[in-house]
Assembly symmetry: C2
Homo-oligomer: 570 residues x 2
């Protein structure tokens, strides 16, 4: 008699189980009301679909979810015009529509979120005041921000079944502020890709053109917030991972400086890589969302929960731009290209649009001269590479899931990657220290470079902020987002950066231009990538870049840029 020893489940079997459980977590009565509205894959722009789902979303629910000013939403929640249960239900329904359109969600926990919302409604009734500055607001979180009792897979098959035994510090803070964490959102495996594809949940796509990437690594947030499936989301950014999805999906997004927002208790790739920390930052459809999040989190004294958090209160004077002439007659500088890769026509148009809008409001706009951007980006790449391969290997080893070599393939064609540890070289700690030294020198050079602009601004101050591309392109086709240089440079310098949407790619306005003298091999490849038809309808954005730990000032200046753009819009 032979005994069959059951073999452990293959990684694909684990994925099948996880996906089935995800599907089962969606309320069964919602799905039939959505399905008739889900178009065939050849419908590229799905941004208008949610508002067509009138069987699922009531008129009030459409009104709630289309309230893009978070300040207005919070005011209506605080005044009991809308209950938290109503608002959370509305966004949950719309989030599920977004999921069906773009595959942007990971963890779905409707009952739990509605119970929390009900608790907040009861609190407000009983106490007569909101629990905190984010009272009743549903919030989406990137799939690394642990919530007690829920799995956090972060796109790793090996982490399926890993249930958090405590909340991340940021979740604790959000609870104290009265928020309702209600979904978690998709990412790329390892988080070190600017797109969002992994072996567990597959790919998230761009709601404005599903042949294009939503960006990454906070790509699920980008797609979800763009579809108004969440009023306020939290992503993380180590090289552009908040800003790239924001730009590609047409939302606002903030990359704060290191250690302003608590990261403690979240999972991450390359834990212990402290040289260029990943940071959490908000995504929303209004600057007000970014401001209210940052202000609320900082006011909660997060340094009492996260030992790495900077003990620095919200600085109202800085927000009111005391250090920037009170916001009057400022001097901005436009980065037209980074000396390495020249942006595509729609990106240049975006910069032009901002320049004109600011000039129309009486601000001065000069050109920004880039300094050693490639060196900064290459140094960061070398720092991450110092231990990345070993980290990915250790993480994926338990299930043998492949480490992805590209974001281009479909699920079934995932291949073993050149990043596998057999190809790695050990980098010594001493060698890593030399890279840190290089980085510090580059930061000092850039600081001096910025300070020296005081001679050119006419304001008596250095340039108030830089207006820069978020990438050399709008959202490209899947697998084609091969560089994050336009965002990563600011991570290396630790400058605060905020993404502001400007327009969308238009086949007429954004025609291909004749080739320029190429700045580099990458520039030439990038030139040939452009074709207005391919990028059709992709959002166009810029990032406003301020100084290290200048969140308040950058938010204040972003409000000025944003309203200038709105006034200038035809």
């Amino acid at each position: 008699m032979s005994t069959e020893v059951p073999s452990p489940p293959t990684w694909k079997a684990l994925v099948d189980d996880k996906r089935a459980r995800q599907q089962a977590s969606i309320p069964a009565d919602w799905l039939p009301l959505i399905e008739p509205h889900i178009p065939s894959p050849d419908t590229l722009d799905v941004s208008g679909i949610p508002d067509q789902c009138t069987e699922l979303l009531s008129e009030q629910e459409r009104e709630i979810t289309n309230t893009i000013d978070v300040q207005v939403l919070l005011a209506k929640l605080a005044s009991e015009e809308w209950s938290s249960v109503e608002v959370t239900t509305a966004f949950y329904k719309r989030a599920i529509i977004a999921q069906k359109l773009t595959n942007c969600l990971t963890e779905i926990f409707v009952e739990r979120a509605l119970a929390r919302a009900a608790e907040l409604d009861a609190y407000l009734k009983e106490k007569g005041k909101p629990m905190g500055p984010l009272h009743g607001l549903p919030m989406s979180l990137k799939d690394q921000i642990c919530i007690k009792g829920l799995e956090t897979t972060m796109g790793y098959v090996s982490w399926i079944g890993k249930y958090a035994d405590r909340d991340a510090a940021l979740v604790e803070v959000l609870y104290k502020c009265g928020a309702v964490p209600f979904v978690r959102t998709n990412v790329p495996q390892t988080l070190m890709w600017p797109e969002s594809f992994n072996n567990v949940f597959g790919r998230t796509v761009n709601p404005y053109n599903r042949l294009l990437t939503c960006g990454g690594s906070s790509g699920g947030e980008g797609a979800l917030v763009a579809l108004r499936g969440s009023p306020l989301g939290v992503g993380s950014d180590i090289g552009g991972s908040v800003r790239i999805p924001s730009a590609f999906c047409g939302t606002y997004g903030l990359r704060p400086s290191y250690h302003r927002i608590p990261y403690e208790g979240a999972v991450n790739s390359m834990q212990g890589q402290d040289s260029v920390p990943s940071v959490f930052g908000p995504l929303a459809n209004s600057v007000s969302g970014l401001k209210l999040f940052t202000q609320a989190v900082v006011a909660s004294e997060p340094w009492r929960l996260d030992p790495l958090c900077v003990r620095k209160k919200w600085d109202q004077e800085a927000y009111e731009l005391k250090e920037h002439g009170g916001g009057k007659e400022m001097c901005f500088a436009v980065l037209w290209d980074d000396g390495w890769v020249k942006p595509h026509p729609p990106i240049i148009r975006g910069l032009e649009t901002v320049r004109k809008a600011l000039q129309a409001k009486g601000h001065k706009v000069i050109d920004w001269v880039p300094l050693k951007h490639k060196e900064v980006v290459d140094t960061l790449g070398a720092i991450w590479a110092a231990g990345a391969v070993e980290d990915y290997s250790v993480t994926t080893q338990p299930t043998g899931e492949p480490v992805l070599a590209t974001m281009a393939e479909d699920d079934d064609s995932v291949v073993e990657s050149g990043f596998r540890p057999s190809n790695s070289e050990t980098v010594s700690a001493y060698r890593l220290w030399q890279l840190h030294l290089k980085k510090r020198e580059l930061r000092k050079e850039y600081l001096d470079h910025w300070e020296a602009t005081a001679e050119k601004t006419g304001t008596g101050r250095p340039v108030d902020a830089i207006i820069a591309p978020v990438a050399a392109y709008a959202a490209p086709p899947h697998g084609k987002n091969r560089s994050a240089a336009y965002t990563t440079v600011w991570n290396g310098l630790d400058y605060t950066a905020l993404v502001i949407p400007v327009s969308k790619v238009d086949e007429t306005m954004d025609a291909k231009v004749p080739p320029h003298q190429f700045l580099s091999k990458e520039d030439e490849v990038n030139y040939h990538l452009y074709d207005p038809a391919t990028f059709k309808n992709a959002p166009i954005a810029v990032q406003l870049v301020g100084r290290t730990l200048e969140e308040e000032g950058v938010i204040g200046m972003a409000e000025i840029v944003d309203s200038a753009l709105k006034e200038a819009a035809p």
Copy 2:
């Protein structure tokens, strides 16, 4: 015909030349006035000698240098009661006396300092107001804080002849504040020893007992400030290097948090080791010196010069102890031992003295329960070891000077050390990341541990500050300072810590006690090290430990502890 090729100078020849140049930099007419007062080596306590040098130091110069309250000195400078030239001359003369007694100086540049002082005097006359908050004040700097045009050897023979082509950021700041950098001070080779001995300048000794160490690595500062040869000095602290010399020499000293005071442009050991950064901090004979330095530097917006500096203004509310009940009825906690090594009797007496003084002022004092101090210290040791050997090797290689294996030997008996690279193992970047992760977890545990004390204080707040030993002993004999665990733990946790002198070792009051049940092997060794005669006259101090980036609050609380001690003194 044979041609003789001259061989490069040996490292000893380089040292001889450097020492001769140092000797020549002392004004020739000062030396004959000092020499008659320099006692034979068997005179151990030399703290009273400077005031006996009445041929060199005029009555006014003795009055100036004995003005230990820096605020008073600055007021007299600002009111032109004393000119900067007078004050700088007085301290310079006394610094040279200190040099002859303890060998505390490295770079001596009298003319340059006096020219700067004269410039400040002229400025004040012409403009009718001081140049800045430190107007006219001579300041000593540890031998890593580069001054344009001067050598910075930092105890390395290989750095003899290395002239700085620009000022360190801190020097720029001090110039803007109106200070007069006037001497640089001795250190141990590599800076990674808690004593001060190197192949270039030799050993600095303790002014209260020359058989004892002055501590390190900012040992030259400790000895100099203790002898009132400088009103305000700057040291650096990576594991206790400001606090140990402060405690051993009986001065006040502050270890700020990472990146509050600009480090940019200074030289250092293990550059690029960013995991546990060294920080600059002041030493003085009064809390006012520490406060005025910190406030002046922070107010200068050092983040405009150093990209790593935290953008955080001086917080007057924090200094006024708004977060600590306005300084009334606070709750302190005493760390009697760290669970690893029990302090010697004089250190316990120091803690007792502080406890009683605080209780007499109506504050509550409870016991502090240490948490994993050894793990924190061992983790830091492993982080530094990851690249230290390679760093020391690269630095000493050009001249072949030996890397020191001990602080115990005299110059001539320096031997090749077990730390030589042939004995090193390569530590990978990935392994270093795991140490970072361990450190972060320990910081989180300690933070939670501190926050949880809110249940025990009766104030509704966690413990306001910890009162802790600076070492398990007062200044020990040369070569015997083998652990910095009582200081290093706070570097690992990045807590602000301020040293306050309390008393001196007294053979009667500090008798040896019977052995206790030893906590560890190190504890047993430490027990046997004690003997009141050996430690005779050594200063006793405590450190007041607050939170990360809580410089203002720690200074405010130190003023309260210091005045309680002064009121309680018999």
